[in-house]
Amino acid sequence: MDVALARAWIAAVTAAVTDNADYLTQLDSAIGDADHGVNLRRGFTAVSAALDSYEAATVGDVLVKTGSTLVSKVGGASGPLYGTAFRAMGKALPEATVDATALGKALRAGLEGVQKLGAAVQGDKTIVDAYEPAIAAFDAAVAGGGDLHAAAEAARQAAEDGMHATTPLQARKGRASYLGARSVGHQDPGATSTWLIFKALAEVTA
């Protein structure tokens, strides 16, 4: 991945959250407060504007700028969580070009940032339920000799499976946890937006 590809990834995420804003908000209205899509669309629109006027020397520069803008513009839980994830990824990639192994390590640093802040583990019905299996699949594909696209494609599939697996779960973190057993039967909006992020990575590396 080089700087141009990193920019393309973030542009693809921006397009995906914009196209799916109503869908994410609809998922969030079932078990949350109906703002996830609106907030991410607002955040990534601001990211897009910030990156347009930003000279990035490294892949990390693009991702840190993305994360900082999300922290400053989104609010709620998704702003700090995704903002921290992209910042942590970016700090792990201070090079103009990075290989799949390095990107895998950076994705894991992003997950660690999310978990440090939100204290969620797999099965809590959160972002982590899509993120953790996605990077496990990414790493496994790289270890098996796969290139960046093969790894990203494996991550996309695992994120999608993880997202679907949130539906029968009872939420234990975030606003959906207030519903207790009533959160069962609804797909988690955060896991869904995480799937969109990995889907965008698979698309731009094709």
Binding site: S29, S72, G76, S78, R175, Y178, R182
Partner: protein, 332 residues
């Protein structure tokens, strides 16, 4: 959706401009979405700030002024403010005695205030945070995000604000805020969902003959759905849940709030207060002070919450201290 708005994305800023026009003694920072006391920062006074998603008015901006908050940070509707805003508010009210952050216990609010406190620490401002979690509809367990912060926030802001106004130190102001939170419990029931300007339609469908029991203040569904009952029975459920979570003894004094969630008329809130007062009298609890009205709302939700805070002489003295804000005003 029918609302008095111009454009959904401009609601918060245009409403803040209105607050500024109506209350010239407050300073409005539109860019950072802050309501600030006109005379902030005050030298050697502990600064109190709070904030959260918009849509709960008068909380928090309506409680900025003498004897209460020094500044409030308004997030987007039902979305917590961002760290940059909270940092700006913290700097605007720091008079050298430190700043207390009053944070309602929601995942996003806690994270954003925590990030702001770290940034303020980098600028050598002492910050203490008090997390309000009084909503006893939610079980406080490792399996949830913990109890929500709701009605007790009004009590915390009033009482901690009074102590700060009379010169209390940061540690003492934080301690009294925590005491109020620990001694308070709230419970809410909704008759309709609310409509956020961005979503344009109600957050959930509630049939004509049903109510949501144990709701929060963000239009999310409650703990359970039941057939609607007379106010007397709803008050019994509410008061018994509160007393089960935070027991009061016969002879205890309390500050009690019957609060509307945005679209419930005062006539119904007074009717409910009558029921609540009878139930507390039966339990031997003396209502020493009360509030009946709309203090922490959920946009246009029809519904009510009850908050009970066990009060001693110290809390009552601070409650009675002068306050001059758009939302609470007495003693001067």
């Amino acid at each position: 959706m029918k609302k008095f708005i111009n454009a959904p994305e401009e609601v918060v800023r245009e409403a803040l401009a209105g607050v500024g026009a109506a209350h010239p003694d407050l300073r409005i920072d539109i860019e950072n979405q802050l309501v600030i006391r006109g005379d902030a920062p005050r030298a050697d006074k502990v600064g109190l700030i709070s904030g959260g998603g918009s849509g709960h008015e008068p909380l928090h901006g309506g409680f900025v002024g003498l004897g209460m908050l020094d500044a409030a940070c308004a997030g987007e509707v039902f979305t917590s403010p961002v760290p940059d805003q909270i940092l700006e508010a913290t700097k605007a009210v720091d008079g050298g005695a430190g700043v207390l952050h009053i944070v309602k216990n929601y995942t996003g609010d806690v994270m954003n205030f925590q990030m702001a406190a770290e940034l303020a620490g980098d600028e050598n401002i002492s910050v203490e945070a008090v997390v309000v979690d009084d909503d006893v509809a939610v079980e406080d367990s490792t399996w949830t995000a913990g109890r929500r912060g709701t009605g007790a926030t009004v009590f915390v802001e009033k009482i901690a604000g009074a102590l700060a106004e009379e010169g209390g130190r940061l540690a003492d102001v934080a301690a009294v805020a925590r005491k109020v939170n620990e001694q308070s419990a709230s419970f809410a029931v909704a008759l309709t969902a609310c409509t956020t300007p961005a979503a344009g339609k109600p957050g959930f469908d509630l049939p004509e003959d049903e109510m949501e029991v144990g709701v929060g203040i963000h239009g999310e569904p409650g703990r359970r759905r039941e057939k609607i009952q007379p106010a007397k029975a709803i008050a019994e459920t509410t008061v018994s849940t509160i007393l089960a979570a935070k027991p009061l003894n016969a002879g205890d004094k309390a500050i009690v709030m019957v609060n509307g969630l945005g679209a419930t008329p005062l006539i119904e809130l007074y009717l409910l207060y009558n029921e609540v007062a009878k139930l507390l009298a039966e339990a031997g609890v003396e209502i020493a002070r009360n509030l009946v009205g709309n203090y922490i709302t959920s946009l246009d939700m029809a519904g009510m919450s009850v908050t009970v805070c066990k009060a001693d002489d110290e809390l009552l003295r601070l409650w009675d201290a002068p306050v001059r804000t758009p939302g609470l005003r007495w003693g001067m």
